[in-house]
């Protein structure tokens, strides 16, 4: 038996490592534009615009200095405000709603759930003009709180679906046992529900943060200098500076960094969030 199995096992090991190498190559090819972006951001402009591309160069932080000189900071702060506050608001609105759609469901809970998701399917472009006119008339154009409200409504369906899927993981028996033991609602939330769903809550928050941080369409049409977010800086930077590739790459790296970190941290929960809880 062993004499027969050994070559087969060795063959399997070899094919496994061959496919492993293929996977590594695919991974590197895929990430390469990002690596190139980061490499270019550390070049001088003449190295960045060389043909053939320069692989060896003296790294410099000049481009990052320039980006900060052009005042990227307020844009980053605006993005941070819009993303953090909208994420907080989303979590505050979505978690109780998800509770009322899962553990203690209201009647017609499926319809409500599908109402939420149908708002996500509607193209933002159909609402752009009325939103623009309303915010203009309310004097709320170029105001970060407008963006907080819009990003909240953009992420709310996602968060409701996601939180619901996490809440359904709370074992019903434990909840019922708690109730029998006389635990009130607050106690069971604190002692039973929160410990189980807190990783899910964190993942929901991270994904809402990612979408809010990256949002461009509403930001470009509703904000300008006061409430401009990081993507707006990037676009404005190109048109005002002309094309400076290394500088563009430095700015692009800088504005992508928070989401890259958030996404890497949340990667195990990413698929569940993106599929609104349908895929675990």
């Amino acid at each position: 038996m062993t004499t027969l199995a050994a070559p087969a096992r060795r063959k399997r090991k070899i094919t496994d490592s061959v496919w492993g190498i293929v996977a590594w190559i695919a991974g590197i090819v895929f990430v390469f534009p990002v690596i190139w972006m980061v490499l270019t951001s550390f070049k001088q402009e003449q190295d960045a615009a060389s043909n053939p591309p320069s692989w060896v160069f003296t790294p410099t932080l000049d481009q990052y200095m320039t980006v900060f000189d052009r005042n990227i900071t307020p844009f980053l702060l605006n993005s941070l405000m819009a993303s953090v506050f909208s994420t907080l608001l989303v979590v505050l609105l979505a978690t109780p709603a998800a509770y009322a759609l899962s553990l203690r469901p209201v009647e017609k809970w499926t319809d409500v759930l599908f109402f939420f998701i149908s708002t996500k399917m509607m193209p933002a472009v159909a609402a752009l003009l009325p939103v623009y006119l309303l915010t203009k008339n309310l004097g709320m154009l170029d105001n970060i709180w407008t963006m907080v409200i819009l990003y909240t409504s953009m992420n709310l369906p996602l968060a409701v679906w996601m939180m619901r899927s996490f809440l359904l993981e709370v074992p019903r028996e434990v909840l019922e046992a708690g109730e029998v033991d006389g635990a009130g609602l607050l106690t069971s939330i604190r002692k039973i529900i929160l410990p189980i769903v807190s990783p899910g809550l964190a993942a929901t928050a991270l994904i809402c943060f990612i979408f809010a941080w990256n949002e461009f369409f509403l930001a470009v049409n509703l904000t300008a200098t006061n409430a401009g977010t990081a993507p707006i800086f990037l676009v404005g930077f190109i048109s005002s500076e002309g094309l400076f590739l290394a500088r563009l790459c430095a700015a692009a790296t800088l504005v992508s960094l928070p989401v890259l970190i958030a996404g890497w941290l949340a990667q195990n929960k990413l698929v569940r969030g993106l599929s609104m809880g349908a895929v675990k």
Binding site: G20, V22, A23, W24, A26, G27, F30, V31, P33, W36, M37, A49, N51, P53, P96, A97, Y99, A100, L101, R104, P105, V106, W109, T110, D111, F114, F115, F116, S118, T119, K120, M121, P123, V125, A126, A127, L129, P130, V131, L133, V160, S165, R172, F217, V220, L234, V235, I238, L245, L248, C249, T253, V255, S256, L260, G263, W264, Q267, G277, A278
Partner: protein, 309 residues
């Protein structure tokens, strides 16, 4: 932005049957839902009603004070305008192209990642990275650092002096979108592959099924729901593509890459034809409702699958 889309499917069993309590009890149950629901109703439905009203007005913002009710004139203008039709075709082509290619690549990568090998989690991290780059940053980097005819990386590596964006505008946009969305498809399909029962696969192997038979007869049918989900969610996001078009091609050359979101954006903020833009918006919403009704059916079947677990 729309009314509730009712589902044709039977409802899944309730996790806990709501008690037919007193009306007070029912309101207590509803209370946690209301803030979120009311917020969503106001922020998403009110603008849409407003769009409906605007779509019946002859209103160009460059002629202030001149707004009159014209009924369905805007709809006639928009529907008979070849620009909208070409934008519709472009939307379908760009969305379908991006979804199909990212799905194929995502499937191949998911199959690779489904095996055990040294550094698998590192490779997965590398593969999801494109999805995390800010879309507008990704689009600008692709346009200037990769596609640029003089010093872009593609010509730098492969030689030649092709101006990728103006020679192949649609392909250039699709390639960027595919690069960003392949990780998304891969993650969904990988979850599907990993949810296959190892025992069933082993049993098939013992029964003498070869790898190809297992893949086509067992894995693909098992993946069907995941493929559908990936296609649907991908389409929902990609049909609204704006960033890549805004920064890579500005809808051009000519109208080659103008999709519906970009066309409506141009009508609103470049031509200031508020009435026509609204009518186009309403048409897009109606089209979306048609597509979404199918989409919701698939989602609700998945939803039952999740429910029954």
């Amino acid at each position: 932005m729309t009314d509730v889309i009712t589902r044709a499917d039977p409802k899944p069993d309730l996790p806990v049957a709501p008690k037919r309590g007193s009306s007070k009890e029912r309101w207590i149950r509803r209370a946690p839902l209301l803030p979120g629901l009311i917020f969503a109703l106001i922020v998403t439905q009110v603008p849409f009603l407003f769009t409906l009203v605007l779509s019946t007005l002859d209103w160009n913002a460059l002629r202030p004070g001149d707004r009159s009710f014209v009924g369905i004139d805007n709809y006639i203008t928009v529907l008979s305008d070849s620009r909208l039709r070409s934008a519709l075709v472009n939307t379908v082509l760009l969305t379908a192209g991006a979804v199909i290619f990212s799905m194929i690549l995502g499937l191949l990568l998911a199959i690779l990642l489904d095996r055990k090998f040294f550094g698998r989690s590192v490779v997965r991290t590398l593969l999801i990275t494109p999805f995390l780059v800010m879309p507008i940053a990704a689009a600008l980097v692709w346009k200037h650092a990769l596609y640029n005819p003089a010093y872009g990386l593609i010509n730098g590596i492969f030689g030649g002096s092709t101006d990728w964006v103006s020679s192949y505008p649609k392909a250039a946009v699709i390639a960027t979108l595919v690069w960003q969305w392949t990780p998304f498809m891969m993650l969904i399909l990988l979850a599907g592959l990993q949810s296959q029962s190892e025992e069933v696969l082993e049993a098939a192997r013992v029964d003498g099924a070869n790898a190809w038979q297992i893949f086509t007869r067992m894995t693909i049918p098992h993946l069907r729901q995941y493929l559908e989900l990936g296609a649907l969610l991908g389409s929902i996001y990609l049909v609204n593509t704006f960033d890549a078009i805004f920064s890579i091609t500005q809808g051009g050359p000519g109208q080659a890459t103008t999709n519906l979101p970009y066309e409506i954006y141009l009508t609103t903020f470049r031509k200031f034809e508020y009435g026509e833009a609204s009518a186009a918006g309403v048409i897009v919403v109606i089209l979306t409702i048609i597509v979404a009704t199918f989409a919701l059916r698939v989602i609700s079947s998945l939803f039952r699958m999740e429910e029954s677990r």
